[in-house]
Symmetry: C2
């Protein structure tokens, strides 16, 4: 198999509204988000979006921000992937311009955790530590913990960090990269932020 | 750094009840589960349990099954880890016997998705395909999809497969293994199962 010849970025995620009307919250968030720049498919467990990196991150943030505006406790959990050797060439809108479709600067505190998995790369631990240090420099680092790192702050800063980390943690020699992100918004556990 | 000298298995997860009384559902599920065989810590985004593999999987299943009994739509999403070179030796109950603490054979349909990430292993794609084929042989395979594989069936069969896959996908030479699992229970999207 050839590894990572495609520029496609994918994000397989689930949006979890902790609310009796979760169907409405999910449908509203997906409906309010302009997803025209990404290929999207939803099944009974998760949704996958695929396309250029800039659009995948833009759409992911827009869905989270839209659902957050309900004021309800929501979570967004998923996996960003690039360069997977098992990936297919199709189902991605790579001819789109770099102009993002969703622009909404509303501030929203998020607490999240992430982990980077650079595949088939002997130096992967160095890469992970480097990106965690970058989070500290950028002021979004929250906490050290087993199997993940805590990232928090305004949703725009947090997503900007994630997109940067995802770019920095892969290279031409090591194209297959996976990043898990678990994000919590409007939670009673956030200590009144 | 030395890689994977510890037999500790960890599972960092979040339980998401899609219900207004999500706090009660989570607390009840954690309260009804015997977690004495694992080290456990909860923060504002997730919970981590650590210990012997048999107990980590037993506790994870028991929490999901307990929450499922509310009849509400719940999700369990998380990452199993073994042999992480950044892991610490503490915070695990490795002196426990192999007798599991939670025994409840109640049937419960679950639909889930998983991905295996054998770290720093040039043969990792072969391992992934092998375990996906095992799912097909064992009758729990649901669907092929980008970045994950669908696994479904009775919760006991599904967890048995996951534990087996997690054992088979790591070796003495390649101890660092990560497996993401996203599980959906009592969902209106499951097509009336």
């Amino acid at each position: 198999m050839e590894c990572g010849v495609s520029p496609i970025i994918g994000f397989r995620f689930s949006l979890y509204p902790m609310a009796d009307d979760f169907v409405k919250v999910i449908k509203t968030a997906l409906g309010e988000t302009d997803t025209s720049n990404v290929w999207m498919h939803t099944d009974d467990v998760s949704t996958v979006i695929r396309g250029k990196q800039i659009h995948v991150f833009n759409v992911a943030k827009a869905i989270a921000l839209s659902a957050a505006k309900t004021g309800k406790h929501i979570a967004l959990s998923g996996t960003f992937s690039a360069g997977c050797p098992g990936d297919t060439a199709g189902d991605a809108y790579l001819d789109k311009s770099d102009e993002v479709a969703n622009i909404d600067g509303t501030k929203q505190y998020v607490s999240s955790q992430f982990a980077l998995y650079p595949m088939n790369n002997p130096s992967y631990m160095d890469i992970i530590y480097r990106e965690v240090n970058r989070a500290k420099e950028e002021g979004v680092f929250n906490d050290t913990m087993q199997y993940a790192s805590g990232i928090h702050g305004d949703i725009h800063d947090v997503f900007a960090f994630y997109e940067k980390a995802f770019s920095n943690a892969r290279s031409d020699n090591h194209k297959h990269l996976v990043m898990t992100v678990s994000m919590s918004i409007n939670s009673p556990s956030h200590g009144g932020r």
